[in-house]
């Protein structure tokens, strides 16, 4: 992926918080390339650092958190932008017009005393956009998220269901035509049916508006229906990254495999459902060697002392495990079919034999 057209490039990213108990490092030396027009999923448990990593794309880590390292945005045309060096006013423009973000708590980000129309209008005004043209775009966006513009624009947020609000917010986040949309657990508070519906319409939005999507979640099955590629975070860094099929059918990090195995699946007999043993790492701890070694069934001396670098599994697929090519035997996945389906994207095909 590294040679393809990269839109966001992250190098040596660290996010730290000073706490009474010591320095909390919630992202550690992360590297990541997001390709233009892809849908990249970032998966991890709560506290794995996934939200902090994604917030750094817009330099939106909240105080007193500090992001260091490099986040470079490569616009379609024009000079690369060093995101972590932008001033407040530059950021304000950047966050709507280049990379927009919708996050979980965002449903409360509508002002309760103004209509949805006012939100669109003020956003356009603040950024000196042509209002009639912008409102036309707003209506078009609302329709793309299955909302009736005539009714929605005159509503107040509290008159809308959670699913409607979240869709209205997605439409609002796109009104200034950003190229990248970062969604942090955007559907987590919603019913599964609404979650899946939103994921389905995001796929359409992505194609319709040539977006690059970065979708952060702890819901792996949902993510596989949307993402072209998936990055797996464990203990504050990415431990595996590859296409959705790479991860589903050839997961090469013991953590990813354990995650796949412990994901409830309607096709798996109940007796075969498992849990990952051990507890989550503490962001204050320094873990020597591989961060997964305390929970890894394959860990040996080397893992306890050396930190595994990203190893190349295939040209689309990397894993931070010394023994990536043995992981499949060491950690089995109950739901996985014997063979990888012959072609394409799992999100776009029926995943194999029945």
């Amino acid at each position: 992926m590294s040679n393809s057209d990269t839109i966001v490039e992250v190098r040596d990213l660290n996010v730290t918080f000073e706490m009474n108990r010591g320095q909390s490092r919630v992202v550690r030396d992360a590297d990541l390339d997001v390709a233009r027009n892809e849908t990249l999923g970032i998966i991890g448990e709560s506290g794995s650092g996934k939200s902090m990593l994604a917030s750094s794309f817009l330099n939106a880590v909240v105080e007193p958190g500090v992001s260091t390292g490099e986040v470079t945005y490569h616009p379609d045309d024009g000079e690369p932008v060093s995101v972590l060096d932008l001033s407040e006013s530059e950021l304000n423009r950047f966050r709507w017009e280049e990379i927009a973000m919708v996050f979980q708590g965002a449903m409360s980000s509508f002002n309760p005393v103004t209509t949805i129309r006012t939100h669109f209008r003020e956003t356009l005004q603040d950024h000196n956009r042509d209002i009639p043209a912008g409102m036309d775009r707003a209506r078009e966006l609302l329709e793309s998220v299955y909302l009736d513009p005539d009714r929605i624009l005159d509503s107040y947020a509290h008159e809308l269901s959670g699913g409607m609000k979240q869709r209205a917010l997605i439409a609002l986040s796109l009104v200034l035509e950003p190229d990248v949309l970062v969604l942090d657990e955007p559907t987590a508070a919603l019913d599964l049916l609404m979650q899946r519906s939103i994921v389905t319409l995001l796929r359409d939005l992505q194609a319709e508006y040539d977006l690059t999507l970065v979708f952060i979640t702890h819901d792996l099955p949902l993510l596989t229906k949307l993402a072209d590629r998936i990055a797996v975070m464990y203990a504050f860094n990415i431990v595996e990254i590859g296409t959705t099929d790479d991860l589903l059918y050839n997961a090469s990090h013991p953590y990813t495999r354990a995650l796949l195995d412990t994901t409830p699946d309607l096709n798996v007999p109940v007796e075969e459902m498992n849990i990952i043993e051990g507890s989550k790492p503490d962001p204050v701890d320094h873990i020597p060697g591989c961060s997964y070694h305390p929970r890894c069934p394959m860990a040996d001396e080397r893992c306890r002392s050396d930190d595994p670098p990203m190893m190349t599994v295939s040209n689309s697929h990397e894993s931070a495990c010394f023994y990536y090519d043995e992981a499949d035997d060491a950690v089995t996945i109950s739901a996985a079919p014997e063979t990888r389906p012959a072609s394409g994207q799992s999100a776009a095909t029926d995943g194999g034999e029945n």
Binding site: L193, L220, T262, T263, M273, I275, D350, G352
Partner: protein, 361 residues
């Protein structure tokens, strides 16, 4: 029938009148029928899982089942005793209302809300024991609590019991609240989205624990979930049934095989689509709904309530309300959809002309 079932609900409906409170989503004061003509029975050590989208009435039905919500019509009985009669006419009740309420316990979606943030866990857990078992001494109370904490894997108990709620993780809080409910040795525990707030990796663990304790305490469970995969896990492991609710009604109820493997109702199928699987998912691309949003509950659609969203709706569905159709030949399990009846006029009814898939608030 040999004896009265532990819990039975007969023709239960619950209506709320919107007075500008919680239901002020849709403006004017209107009546919402949150639960509509539900009949159910639950035996000893039986598990029933209710699933459906938010607002479908599953929480209201759950609360009604444990006597925390009075039905507008219909009856809820505990071992043959009408719960609300026991409450209103305590002299003639064969089982006192207090005893009924304490046999029917609840674990909330937000487990922390059951624990006083300013009290140590031990103090919070002693309260119900003091109230219901006043004859117990302090030591006995503590011993019961300690034993249960050991049992749910919170060991050594004193470590946890001396903490305040905010010093427990989500999973630990959930366990503490489970212990709190079990201390009263209830016949039924209503678990309202009790595991939804946990990380996926912790959910299976929590469900396993609850089912293990079911054997030990011989409790029945009424699980409420919006997640078919959790429902299926619980139902399959416990041998219980799954009931699917939509706009106040049970639209399909059956065993795991019936609901998960071979759902009859298009809404159950939509829920299945929503429960994404990692592997071997079919029909990924198709929206199994004509509309994304649930209609206004104060103004229920005519005929089958699901018809505006149903991909299989036909003209007859706009007019007729489907009754309980027992396709599997079983008396208790049914689907409220004409498609479950091979001979229904549905099959000759014209399809509904397409409407735009947009919704209005």
């Amino acid at each position: 029938m040999a004896s009265d079932p532990m819990l039975s609900m007969d023709g239960v409906s619950v209506e709320f009148t919107d007075d500008g409170g919680v239901l002020d989503l849709f403006g004017d004061s209107e009546t919402v029928r949150a639960v509509n003509d539900v009949s159910l029975e639950l035996g000893e050590e039986e598990t029933l899982t209710l699933i459906g989208e938010s607002g479908c009435g599953k929480s209201t039905l759950g609360k009604t089942a444990i006597g925390a919500q009075k039905p507008t019509s219909g009856t809820v009985s505990y071992r043959g005793q009408d719960i609300w009669e026991a409450r209103n006419d305590s002299k003639n009740a064969s089982i006192p209302f207090d005893e009924i309420r304490h046999s029917l316990q609840i674990i909330h979606q937000d487990p922390g809300s059951a624990l006083n943030p300013n009290q140590r866990i031990l103090t919070s857990l002693q309260l119900p024991l003091k109230k219901w078992y006043p004859e117990l001494g302090r030591e006995e109370r503590e011993e019961r609590i300690h034993t249960l904490f050991e049992r749910v894997g919170m060991s050594p108990p004193s470590d946890y019991l001396n903490r305040y709620p905010h010093q427990l993780s989500g999973g630990e809080t959930q366990r503490a609240v489970l212990v709190r409910a079990l201390l009263l040795n209830p016949d039924l525990i209503l678990a309202d989205e009790a595991i939804s707030a946990l990380d996926v990796s912790l959910r299976v663990e929590m469900m396993d624990l609850m089912l293990e304790l079911q054997d030990l305490f011989q409790t029945s469970y009424l699980f409420i979930s919006h997640d078919l995969s959790n429902a299926r896990y619980i139902a399959e492991k416990s041998g219980g049934r799954i009931a699917v609710m939509y706009l106040g009604e049970i639209v399909e109820i059956g065993t795991v095989e019936e609901i998960v493997e071979n759902p009859q109702h298009p809404y159950t199928k939509a829920l299945q689509w929503a429960t994404a699987n990692l592997y071997e998912d079919e029909d990924d691309e198709e929206f199994p709904l004509r509309k994304i949003d649930v209609p206004d509950p104060t103004n229920l659609p005519s005929g089958c309530s699901f018809h505006p969203r149903c991909p299989n709706a036909r003209e007859v569905c706009k007019r007729q309300h489907p009754g309980r159709i027992h396709a599997g030949g079983d008396e208790e399990n049914y689907a409220r959809c004409f498609r479950a009846d091979d001979t229904h006029e549905y099959w000759h009814s014209p399809e509904i002309a397409d409407e735009p898939p947009v919704d209005s608030p």
